[in-house]
């Protein structure tokens, strides 16, 4: 008998089957993910979890029979005797329990892992056109081996290849081997005169041949050749700018946070390495850690340009636009002192927008506050004006938690061809 411990075997043997199943049921699962994300917190949504899809979509048909006369043999007879007729009250009971059972049957429930969930969740989103164009330009260059060349720098000399070619040439031209000469010279030591003359002449020709055919010729030399290939940048930095002046309530901060989270998850799907920079501002800006960003108390006036200035400085000092994909999301209630407008627009159009892939402005407001009744805020008006001038800004208003995902989805939705062509 053998006992084998299989516990150490690699697990997830049916991972591939599972992926096949998800691929097959993709449309259905995606619908289910969307539906379940509507009534869940974003934090929970991204945790994955159970979804249910209509069982019809993945049905595996078989020849099945139904109806007809049925014979049943059952255990546990209590009081029946042969010939009894049982009224079909059982029918109605079965029917009553039918739908309840049927629900379970109609919906096929299973658990998605976090990764699977996020994949499906973000599947029809992509980086906006603007970002893609920028991305194409902002490629770095890498080197790749590409065969051998006749010329190159000594550092790239390929010894292997060179010696091989030299050997081939020497063999082809029949360059005498040193051993052959040594053998003749040994013979020279003890032989008669006539033979000596012959040998001397032979050795002379051989030596001459050795001189004429060099061990390594310049035509043998090969260098390793490298080609430059464009390499897309695989790292991104995400700037979170937020107004933390007294007018921002907890609710507004919460909305902003949710938006940042989505953006972060989205970016981590697209880039290998994502950094986050938190900049909060009142009438002056500072870079803070996450906790302080969302929870640290601060008060003061509002000067948006200070935050933009801070971002600009950080970009200049730490994130060169050629190496990093820069994303920025600004959240604010829209208050800004009117005198600041010029500075803001100048900073944005001259400094920040040219280097960033994407700049979103999210105007948050109190829950229930209709966005239509109130006059547009000063920042909103300013950004609208900039947009009208052609600045690549994305601006949205949000007042409810449930609007966050639709707004996000709307910003990054994969555009169809004609829409792409339109703007």
């Amino acid at each position: 008998m053998h006992i084998i411990d299989r516990r150490l075997n690699p697990g997830s043997k049916s991972l591939e089957n599972r992926q096949r199943f998800l691929r097959r049921a993709k449309a259905l699962v995606q619908d289910a993910v969307k539906k379940s994300s509507q009534d869940r917190d974003i934090r929970d949504v991204l945790e994955g979890g159970e979804v249910s899809i209509p069982v019809d979509g993945m049905h595996e048909p078989r020849f099945r029979r139904e109806g007809g006369t049925r014979d049943m043999v059952l255990p546990g007879n209590k009081k029946f005797v042969e010939g009894d007729i049982l009224p079909r009250s059982g029918e109605s009971r079965r029917k009553a329990s039918g739908p309840g059972e049927g629900d379970g049957e109609d919906a096929f429930r299973f658990v998605l892992s976090r990764d699977e969930f996020v994949d499906l969740f973000l599947d029809d989103l992509e980086l906006p056109d603007l970002a893609k164009r920028k991305l194409a330009e902002a490629e770095s260059v890498g080197l790749r081996r590409a065969g051998y060349a006749m010329s190159g720098s000594p550092a790239n000399l390929s010894v292997n290849r060179t010696v091989r070619l030299a050997l081939a040439r020497r063999v082809a031209l029949q360059r005498p081997r040193p051993e052959a000469i040594a053998r003749l010279e040994a013979e020279l030591a003890d032989c008669d005169d006539t033979r000596r003359i012959e040998l001397l002449a032979e050795i002379e020709t051989l030596k001459g041949k050795v001189r004429r055919i060099p061990f390594i010729d310049p035509i043998d030399i090969r260098y390793r050749r490298f080609e430059t290939v464009p390499k897309p940048i695989a790292q991104a930095v995400m700037f979170c700018l937020m107004d933390v002046s007294g007018s921002m309530s907890e609710h507004m901060k919460d909305l902003a946070k949710r938006f940042y989270m989505l953006l972060y998850v989205f970016l981590t799907r697209r880039y290998r390495h994502v950094e986050i920079v938190f900049i909060r501002h009142t009438d002056r800006a500072e870079e803070v850690d996450e906790d302080t960003f969302f929870h640290g108390p601060a008060s003061g006036g509002t000067l948006v340009s200070s935050a933009l200035q801070a971002m600009h400085e950080i970009v200049r000092s730490r994130f060169r636009a050629t190496d990093w994909n820069i994303y920025a999301a600004q959240a604010s209630d829209g208050d800004n002192s009117t005198s600041d407008s010029d500075a803001v627009s100048r900073l944005l159009t001259d400094k920040l927008l040219p280097v960033s892939q994407f700049f979103a402005y999210l105007e948050v407001s109190e829950a229930g506050g209709s966005t239509f009744d109130m006059p547009d805020s000063s920042l909103w008006t300013l950004y609208q004006r900039l947009r009208a001038d052609g600045a690549p800004l994305s601006v949205r208003k949000v007042s409810e938690r449930s609007e966050i995902f639709p707004v996000f989805h709307d910003l990054f939705q994969r555009r169809r061809k004609q829409e792409k062509a339109a703007p």
Binding site: M1, I3, R6, G68, M72, L74
Partner: protein, 514 residues
């Protein structure tokens, strides 16, 4: 004061040394006291996740990839996580060596139970039952599965995942109709054929009587009818193994598609005996583990506490709820099988008059194990129940028979109960429920319109008015038509040849192009 010298283990913990000891102790009892014969054992310890993996690929250790297994896995994982479903303690594979999977979280008692149950009970049954001997090749199955897996993977690489998946979908839909139910007639070779023809001739010569010439024969068959008969004979019709028929005769299948159909067919065939012997297989294993555990306890190799733990899970396994119980979902094969085997043991050892009347062959013969071994080797569920379900057991389980005729408006009639008048009827009716011939709808390839549009004609012989579920039947026929690549029709006819319903399906364009 307890004597612990001979104990196999203490408490609930176990290690591989313990498993080895348990196995050896069980083997000794199984061989010498129960007289079992089994394949060599291979015991594999696995985790819950691996158990779920095994579940979703029909319990086999290696299997080709297909999304339907992923679907089952997802579903079972979900219900396992929610606690709706417990996992089996073991899975055993009909192969040589016989592989038993044990869950790592079983206690030592449970491992003993599982080893006795799977590694000896099931193992003996697999090795000796005639159905398994006839239909499965225990030595070859793992190699075959390995071949199947790599072949399907190769096909996917070569012909694209989509095409392979579509073929497998279709084959899976027809899987229940890809089984040879009867060992086929052996084709005679030329020499045997000649010999038979000669024998026939000499027989005719020896019994020649001119009088026969004057006896009127039946009506002369028309040439058309003869033609049809010849064609049907050439195609081997009627043919109930739909997958086999497609594999051999579907006109436009690629060679690899035929091989895939063949793989699915072989696997269906491999599981065919298991579906026919659920009650016997589980009954055997349960009976064997009960005997072995009891012996171990008698010998003092397991403690009283561990034996109680065993009894608790044993009674859970053989629990049979009544029909009006919430938990009722048909007969529990473990319970029915175990009860019948115990009953047989009693009949053999100390029968009463009723037993002598009902089972004259085995009553009082004395050697229960010999009788049981013979039964395990030579019966399947249907024949086992129809011959060995005793009146006493029917009374104990209080079995009765209901007849539900939709045409009868008054209600469901109680046809027979566990009394003198009813024993035989209840028993044969219960046996019928385990007869595969009645479980699967009887669908045959009836004919092919070779001179016309190559339509494949199927026929469903309706039994007791149960027709096919329309939505499902259409879908399966769609798959069938895709494989056949021409139209497929199905008629449902009852015993009097009245056509009840007709289906007609054309292949999808995609499949024809593939």
């Amino acid at each position: 004061m307890t004597c612990t010298a001979g104990r196999l283990f203490m408490g609930a913990d176990w290690d591989f040394q313990t498993l080895q000891g348990i196995h050896d102790a069980c083997e000794q009892i199984a061989r010498s006291e129960l007289g079992l014969e089994f394949y060599p054992n291979q015991i594999e310890v696995i985790t819950a996740e691996q158990m779920l993996d095994a579940y979703s690929s029909v319990g086999m250790p290696l299997f080709y990839k297909h999304c339907s297994f992923g679907k089952h896995f997802a579903h079972q994982e979900a219900s396992y996580r929610k606690g709706l479903m417990g996992l089996a303690y073991e899975i055993v594979i009909n192969s040589s060596p016989c592989i038993s999977y044990l869950m790592e979280e079983n206690t030592a008692t449970m491992q003993t139970l599982v080893i006795a149950h799977a590694a000896f009970g099931h193992n003996h049954f697999f090795r000796n039952n005639y159905l398994f001997k006839q239909w499965t090749d225990a030595e070859g199955i793992l190699d075959y599965l390995d071949f199947a897996k790599s072949y399907v993977a190769q096909c996917e690489e070569r012909y694209g995942r989509l095409a392979v998946e579509r073929t497998l979908d279709a084959a899976h839909a027809l899987m229940s109709h890809g089984i040879d139910r009867y060992p086929g007639k052996k084709k005679l070779d030329l020499r045997a054929e000649e010999k038979r023809a000669g024998d026939r001739r000499s027989h005719e010569e020896s019994v020649f009587n001119d009088l026969w010439r004057t006896v009127p024969t039946g009506p002369v068959k028309s040439p058309e009818l003869l033609n049809t008969e010849r064609r049907r004979k050439l195609l081997g019709l009627p043919q109930e193994n739909l997958l086999y028929f497609l594999e051999k005769t579907a006109p436009r299948l690629q060679p690899w598609q035929r091989e895939v159909l063949r793989i699915v067919r072989h696997i269906a065939q491999y599981f065919y005996p298991q579906s026919q012997t659920k009650v016997m297989n589980e009954g055997t294993a349960t009976y064997v583990h009960y005997r072995i555990m009891t012996r171990l306890h008698e010998r003092g190799q397991i403690s009283d506490g561990n034996f109680l733990e065993f009894l608790q899970s044993h009674t859970n396994v053989v629990f049979q709820p009544d029909f009006d119980d919430q938990r009722f979902s048909g007969f529990n094969p473990y319970a029915l099988g175990f009860a019948m085997m115990q009953d047989i043991e009693r009949i053999v050892a100390n029968p009463d008059d009723e037993d002598r009347e009902w089972f004259p062959d085995i009553a009082g013969t004395g050697d229960a194990m010999a009788v049981l071994r013979d039964i395990w080797a030579n019966y399947r569920d249907e024949s086992f129940i129809s011959q060995f379900l005793s009146p006493r057991l029917m009374r104990r389980l209080r079995i009765f028979h209901l007849h539900d005729d939709p045409a009868e408006s008054a209600g469901i009639s109680v046809d027979a109960i566990h009394n003198e008048r009813g024993y035989r009827r209840v028993r044969s009716e219960l046996a019928r429920q385990y007869d595969v011939g009645f479980i699967d709808p009887n669908i045959e390839v009836f004919d092919v319109d070779l001179s016309g549009d190559r339509r494949l004609m199927l026929r469903h012989s309706v039994v007791k008015g149960a027709q096919l579920n329309e939505a499902d039947a259409t879908r399966v026929l769609q798959h069938l038509a895709d494989l056949w690549s021409y139209d497929v029709s199905l008629v449902e006819a009852d015993g009097t040849d009245t056509i009840l319903k007709e289906y007609m399906v054309s292949p999808r364009a995609l499949a024809a192009a593939a």
